[in-house]
Point group: C2
């Protein structure tokens, strides 16, 4: 399973319908959180994601709207009896930042917080995938993230295996796992019946940023790119000044990188009533784009 749940999709100011930024990715049985805006814990409750399988929080930068949900979430997990350590990754000084945050609620946590400082290019190896820190451009210490699954085994050619005399059953499994098998005194090699390894899935989250090279490179043929799409074309100067991206700029990058699906988030509160300027701008450049909504879920299939 690879499922994205948008907990908060607002820009710097929340609205009645958009919480501050936070994204949850369910990778098999593990929950990973990217940014943790105010109210993230309550959004997890609303989305019924559970909290106990949350292994890590990845922070893009320390602006208030991206981090103020951390202390409440930490405390609630402690109240609920968490004992597993929690990893919190982020840019330089993440350790100091979390020390201040956790000092706030006069709260004794029943589990350990392990902070890990990341710089662009750092890779966190996980079981069957990795997460990479990307250089972004937001005027403060900031990073984006890509989640990249390992390649998965090639397609098994069942008909060919049978034609080579391999009986369906345990020998199929052995071949699929890359081992040769003996049939009627002859050796069948896995490369005869198993195709090329197939790509895993890739999700990229830009955080708050101007369009930038590292996010572009990570997004080449990505399955989903979640990109800052704060503003419409009429606000392009302000987007540059405030170090955000317009919907068009995100769409340009997605198109050039050949991503499958673009999701715009960090939506400015000026679009509470009508988001169509953003969608229209992006759609003129790139077709498969959606504007994230709070509690929206996206299941990512394998490429065909």
């Amino acid at each position: 399973m690879l499922k994205i749940t948008f907990l908060g999709t607002a820009g710097s100011l929340p609205t009645p319908y958009r919480n501050p930024p936070s994204i949850l990715i369910k990778k098999d049985s593990e929950l990973l959180m990217f940014d943790c805006g105010e109210g993230a814990q309550q959004q997890m409750m609303r989305a019924r994601t559970g909290m106990m399988s949350l292994s890590s929080i990845f922070i893009t930068h320390f602006h208030a709207d991206h981090v103020l949900g951390i202390p409440g979430l930490l405390q609630t997990m402690s109240f609920q009896g968490r004992t597993e350590p929690l990893y919190i990754y982020g840019p330089e000084k993440i350790d100091v930042f979390i020390q201040i945050l956790t000092a706030l609620g006069y709260c004794q946590l029943g589990y350990e917080i392990k902070t890990v400082e990341l710089k662009p290019g750092d890779i966190i190896e996980k079981n069957g995938y990795h997460i990479k820190a990307l250089k972004t451009e937001h005027g403060v210490k900031s990073i984006g993230y890509s989640l990249v699954e390992n390649k998965r085994p090639g397609k098994f050619d069942r008909d060919k295996a049978v034609s080579l005399g391999v009986p369906p059953g345990p020998l199929f499994s052995k071949l699929q796992k890359g081992n040769p098998v003996e049939v009627d005194g002859r050796t069948v090699h896995p490369e005869e019946v198993v195709g090329e390894p197939r790509p895993g899935r890739t999700v990229v989250y830009s955080g708050d940023t101007r369009p930038c090279e590292d996010v572009f490179n990570a997004s080449l043929e990505a399955d989903v790119l979640i990109h800052d799409g704060s503003l419409d074309d009429s606000q392009s100067e302000w987007a540059a000044e405030s170090m955000h991206s317009t919907a068009s700029e995100a769409a340009e990058l997605a198109k050039k990188a050949g991503v499958i699906k673009l999701v715009l988030t960090h939506i400015s509160s000026r679009y509470t009533e009508d988001e169509s300027p953003l969608l229209n701008d992006a759609n003129e450049i790139f077709e498969n784009v959606v504007i994230a909504d709070d509690l929206m879920e996206i299941n990512i299939p394998y490429k065909k």
Copy 2:
């Protein structure tokens, strides 16, 4: 106007439907906030209360669920162009606490925060009312608050004024304001036509506490008592241990104090599905009780 809006009514753990504790009181054109749990700013947006007339935040104690909404709210008001200073009242060390909170979001506020440390018995005099800090019992430095309006002028006896020869018009107004008037060479004194001063309205907020003397005394004939009613009778031992109150205990206090309306809040997350144990327990003792819900509003009329 004296209107209460419940922004958050949860106990230590929020639920999908209850935000952490925060209460807003609109006193004429001024907004006063009591506690500021995570998400308070967004609840203000949902309740359409505005933020610019918020003059003061009154904190009962520093447990995380009562304060984590402060930094986000402060930042949002700054983004919205606030320049008026904001007063934040609370127990001992409120100044240190707010310094840490405001350091978090790397945020430059465009207005001044004035912190004021209160101890039980302290009174803040306002225009036409005062707010008093109450001693509460929650196992940490904590205070409750009462908002007490000044007495208002007595009832004007229009018929009697006419019978004394006073013509309707400016002289009525002069008498109502407490000044004598001359009519046909005779002096009519205000006490002849204006009744005894009538009581203003009183609202008491206990914060988190065991039932206690200072809240009881402040609640004598209060119009509204907002009291910790975290737990039902079956949890009375845990209420005592965790320094909260049961619904019954709050109802007993309300009854003895002769309050008009009791509102239970800080509702434990165990009652997400069914709050009836709380309401039933309280109703056996006291009739006019409601369980606060998020975004519930209560307009407080003058006593007849």
